[in-house]
Every structure is written in C-alpha cells, then in structure tokens.
Amino acid sequence: MEPEKIAIDYDRVDVARIMEQIKEKTAAEAGGESPDSGAGVVPIAAIDFAAGQGKARRILLKIMSPFSPLIKLVTLPVHEELRRTILILDHTNRRLDELEKERQRLDRLQEYTKLLHHLCHNLVIELSKLKIEEETLKTKTRIMEKDFELLGKRERTLEKEALK
C-alpha cells in the first residue's frame, strides 16, 4: 500500500479524481497479478543486443544492424501478438455475424408487423362491409315480412270472397 502516490489537491478536494486514481491503482495491481499479463514476455529493453564492451560491442552492433529487424522478429513474441489479434478479429467477426443474424430477424419482424397491419386493415374493411350487408339483409327481411303479411291479408280476403 502506497497511498502517498495518490495526488490530492487538499485546498480543493475532488472525490471523483481521488477515486479515479484509486481505481487506476487497483486495476493496475489486478493486471500485475494476472498470469497472462505479460509475465512470460521478455520486455524489449531487457534484451541485451549490445553484449560485450567497447570496440568489440560497436563492431558487433554494426555487423548485426542489417539483421536487427529479423532478430527482433525471431526473438520478440510477435507471434503471440499476431495470435491475439487474430483471436480478437475472429471474435469481432463472430459478433458481426450474430448482429447480422439479429438484423435479419428484426427485418423479418418488421415485415411481419407490416403484414399484420395490412391484415388488420383488411379485416376492418371486411367487417365494415359485412356490417353494411347485414343491415341491407335486415331491411330486406323487414320488407319481405311486410309483403308476406300483405299477401296473408289478401289471401284471407280472397277466401272470404270465394266462399260468398
């Protein structure tokens, strides 16, 4: 614990700023404790290309300088970085595929919703037509009832006339 590392302006204490620093510190510690946080990777500065002393060192460096990119490629864990990048890309691709599928699903849903809307609209129209037809039929029924009633009366009158 080294709390003195946290910078505080005591005249204008800003809790949010202090907490940011605490969070950064704890995150860094958590990162340092992690097993794959680079413990197995040799830091660039630790590679001593300049082994030897004085003149011999300079000559060695001069001879090696055209090959230094190749040496770096071989000695540094570039393959690890490449592997991680590929993994990230793969993950991103998969996520994109999922999102694409989700987009297609949503498009389909949108189409279904439109169809449902049309269907509802048509149903309303059909129901209105049916209602009108029902009213027409009711009117026709009433007219026919009246005609039937009239015919009944006529029948009775004719029967009376025939019996006379």
């Binding site: 614990m1 003195e4 946290i6 005591y10 202090i18 510190k25 510690e29």
Partner: protein, 393 residues
Amino acid sequence: MKLAFVVQRYGLEINGGAELHCRWVAEHMQKHAEVEVLTTRAVDYITWKDSFNRDRDEVNGVRVRRFPVTRPRDPERFGRIQEKLLRHEQRERDELRWLDEEGPRAPGLIQYIKDSQAATDFFLFFSYRYYHSYWGVKTVPGQSILVPTAERDPVVGLGIFRDLFRTPRAIIYNSVEEQKMINDVSGNQDVPAEVVGVGTEIPGRYSGEAFRLKHGLAGPYILYLGRVDENKGCRRLFEYFIRFKRESGSPVKLVLAGNTVMQVPSHPDIHYLGFMGDEEKFGALDGAELLVMPSFYESLSMVTLEAWALAKPVLANALCDVLKGQCRRSNGGLYYENYAEFREALSLLLTSPRLRRALGENGRRYFEANYAWDVIEGKYLSLLNRLEKGRAA
C-alpha cells in the same frame, strides 16, 4: 394552512427510517402550519400489532391521531406471497393482495382521511410501499404529497406503484438518485417534485473523549451506525475489515452501534456496543476517524448526514448509487466497489489526517447548504405555497 402527516408508525420509541424522518419534519413544520399526524397504533414493524392504547396523543407538541390495525401481519404468509410476487409476473389483483398482507391495514385511517379532506389543505404521506400511502393517495389525490423514501428495492417496480407515483399532487424526494429511479420506473416526470431530504437533531452535549473513556477504546476507530444486518452490507464489511487488518497490520478498530440481527464476528478489533442514545451516538461519531456505510440500499442515509454535520468523512459502498452520489456531490467521502478499493480508500483516509479534515469540512458545508433545518423548512414551504397557488388558480 392545515397539514396532515400520514405515516405507518409514530412515536418517540421509533428512532429511525421514514418514521423518524416524518416526526422531525412534522415537528419543524409546526412553526409554519397547523399540523396533525395520522398513524396506526403499531410499534412493531414486523407484525404491526396494536401497541398504543390511546386514539389521541401528543408527541413533542404535535397532535397525533392513532387508528387500530384491523389485521396484524403474518410474517410467514407475507414472506411467501412476496416471494411468489417477485418471482413471477403478477396481475394487479395479486399485487393488491400483497399490499394488504404487508399492511399496516388500517381502514379507519383511510376513512378518516376521506372524512377530513375538506378541513385539511394537504396530506403528506411517508413511505410509498405501505397500505396507508397507497390507499391514502388514492383517496385524496389532489391534496396528497408523497414522500416515497424509496430504496432500490424490487417492489418499487410493481405495477400498483407505477400508478401510485403518477397519482399525487406532488412528490418530495430524498435525493436526485431516488427521483431518477422513480422517474425511470413510473415515467412520472410531469408530477411536480422537489428533492428535499431531512435535517438532523444534534444534541447540545456530546464528547468523543467521554465515549472513548466509557468504552475503553484507545487508538483510532472507524464507526458503523445502524442496524447490524446482512441486508445493510455488514457481512461484507466484516470480511473486508478483517482482511484489511490481516494485510495492513493497521491498529484501527471497527466500532458498531445499533440493534443487531446477525452474528457479529468475534475479532479483537471489532467492538459491538449495542443500541445507543443520541448523545452517546454523536459522542461515538465525534471520536471516530470516519463513518463507514456498507449499505447497498439507501434512500438518503441520515447517519451519513449526521457524520457530515460533525465534519467527519465517510467511506461508503459505491454500489449504493445514493451514497456514491452524495459523496461525489459533497466531496465529503470516498467509496468502494470491491476489497481493493476498500483497502486503498481506507488506507488513504487513515494515513492522511489532512484529507480526513478536508473531506469532513466539505461534508459539513454540504450538510449546512442542503440539510440544515431552515433549508428543509424553506423547501417544504416553497412547494406547499406553489401547490396552494396552483389550487387557487
């Protein structure tokens, strides 16, 4: 102006939560209006069993009218119903049944509200989640002011409460976080509202030194005030504190004061002192290095305000958005989400008296600017006058 304060329990025996909040506001508003308190005869909040015998009473000069609870709560049955309610989707009928079971069921109180609405200007309902507030607000929506004192609790999302939060004439919130939560769950942005909170009563005499002597406490200590309960985050506090002691070797002690509903771990540096009166409680705060608030759910946290009133810094649980928000707005305390942050924040506070002083001073200024009684009274009066004008218009 005549005001009726409606709350589930009321009395000097009840010294915490929304009930104390209501009592303090009622006592202070007596200077500005005719005040009456409408409540039940209950003292026990688990069963709501009638404890007070008299219908009418007077507490610190405030008239109190008590109504009987017609059916005490059966905690077991209520627990079952609540469990079912929260685990499955329910209809309004089931939610109302849950409300009935929760109580305190006092139909006489609701009838009295109905009968006295012409003679009363406003009814202030404290605690949204109980029978009296739900049915009371429904009975006199145009005259009701709701003080929800809501925490981030699953029942806040029930359908009946969404409706309740849209019904009153106005709402008085304890914090901006509470307002945001209720706005989010109910979409009641149109209801007139004010963020007010509550002040505190600091006794004239208290001494940290006397407290230390009485309890034989030498060396620095951090203080927890309130119910020692797992729901208040105490289990995690014990874990963190014991681990901190083991890792840091700090001489700090943890002092706890309040009722307990869980086992306090046996540790030489954890001192549980039981329930304390106001004078002793403020003495404990005065002697402490800081107040620790491990609670996950708070609507305001009166003890945090009390610590700031005494210029003491606070170390709060950041998972409670109200506490975190208060710490950031006041610059009066640090907060933690996990053990590493707890360790760093506590180490920083314990090793830097200058930081403790600066945070405490910020807290005191924040308290005076927002929670001094004249500020609280002013906010209540301003809202009441606004509503009165609106009614007249």
